[in-house]
Subunit: 280 residues, 2 copies
């Protein structure tokens, strides 16, 4: 099977490595507009060869779009235009509504599976990729009724071979959930990083005291702006609403603390403690 991975970064590279570890007879064609990333990907075995976009697509059984969501939005129609008749296109974008809406009326819409693997790290690029990244991580598939049964079945089969549990939902529902469970976490972490960096002029203080919880809450502040800026734009409405709710909760905390109302602060924390039920 010939699989073209467009975007040889963390997700695309890890998908390629994961599939190569689980199957024989997989040939990966890499496409990347960074010559440096393409060379690293070849050296690291994320791709067996690197080709220009159009040439790669024409040879493929499967094409994976694993680039920032702004690039997916720009590439999805040209890729569908060139997609061979029996090939399947899957994207790994962290937003789904705009991407699905762009593909909606393309004559080859049925060959497209809109997906989002719930996996990642705060690192990016080919060197961040590793075979196990996607193993046992949830894959969300959106608007599955708009994909042809054969295309959907192939996508599901590839995911299952990596032991990825599958969840199905509509694109709008996906984007709303992700605004709360993922996008908001990233913004809370970015904002925390800036707040602490601006206050602590002496970075040694941060380093010495980071063990007190800071290093885990700020971890996502290392994430790539190139990846996240277009996610926030594409999911603007939901992210903005999530931020409003989050700021309101912070203001409730601040009011309780300013009033030295320990009962109210404790009640808020006890509510937050319910997260233990879910995350152990």
């Amino acid at each position: 099977m010939i699989i073209t991975v467009i975007g040889l970064g963390l997700l695309g590279g890890s998908f390629a490595l994961g599939l190569k570890a689980k199957h024989t007879g997989i040939h990966i064609i890499g496409v990347d507009n960074s010559a440096t990333h393409a060379a690293q990907a070849l050296r690291l075995g994320l791709a067996d060869e690197v080709l220009p976009l159009e040439e790669a697509i024409l040879k493929s059984d499967v094409v994976v779009l694993a680039v920032p969501v702004s690039a997916i939005a720009r590439l999805i129609l040209p890729v569908l235009d060139k997609l061979p008749e029996n090939a399947m296109l899957i994207d790994f974008g962290s937003t789904k509504e705009q991407i699905c809406s762009i593909a909606e009326n393309h004559p080859r819409r049925k060959q497209f599976v809109a997906a989002h693997p719930i996996a990642g790290t705060e690192y990016s690029g080919p060197e961040a990729a590793f075979a196990a990244l996607l193993y046992e991580k949830t894959m969300i598939i959106c608007e599955k009724e708009k994909s042809a049964p054969a295309a959907l079945a192939l996508a599901e089969q590839l995911c299952r071979s990596l032991n990825m549990p599958l969840r199905y939902m509509q694109a709008a529902e996906h984007d709303l959930h992700l605004a709360y469970v993922s996008h908001l976490s990233h913004i809370s972490s970015f904002a925390l990083g800036i707040t602490v960096l601006e206050k602590e002029q002496d970075e040694k203080n941060i380093f010495d005291m980071a063990g007190s919880g800071f290093s885990s809450t700020v971890r996502l502040a290392k994430s790539s702006p190139q990846m996240w800026a277009p996610i926030f734009s594409q999911n603007k409405k939901n992210v903005s609403q999530a931020l409003d709710s989050y700021i309101a909760q912070l203001q409730r905390f601040k009011a309780a603390i300013d009033a030295e109302d320990e009962a109210q602060a404790s009640a808020l924390m006890a509510e937050a403690n319910n997260i233990r039920r879910i995350l152990g």
Copy 2:
């Protein structure tokens, strides 16, 4: 050496276990106002015996106050009143200004070392304690000039035996740094937990999607309200100021996202990325 640990929870219990792992001839007397915790501590070997507060203090070479900061504030004078002449008292409170100010004029102030180990997990109680928790973690000692040289030297020696790097600062400076690097992280996490729990009625969605960064940013939302409510009260002024700065940063993000100003959102994220320089 006889060491009384008042508060057989995560920190006090881990300190006891850590010292017992590194030294022979250490006898730990436990004091806890929860009979359940006292029994667990004996069973887990965090204490060799459990005694009432006053009886324990009178027998001690070292007394450790490892209870919530409100209880430290309440206990520090009565403990100093009973402290044997050559014994040393150390506290592990996460705030230092109020505690130091209460002890300030006690005739035995010189026998007291005001300390804060920068270590912890989101769990609490005797069962959360483990010997290595404090190993290689920073110990902050405040107002060292107010401790007698012998008391300070003993505290430092115990910390060094756990390979804890020592840092010295004034109490006010400590509380300001910790508001930003620790207390704010906890509030950001509690508020994130509430925001997501209130939105996501179906907890399975949270569970399935938590891999997308949420589980690390929300980890601290599992922390104990009993421990944290008095920390926020005692450090009200600094925590409130840190929350104002944090909310202002979130509002800058929201303005950039609402305006689909990807250049501005990227500039903010690039600023936050500087945390990589410090935390790797």
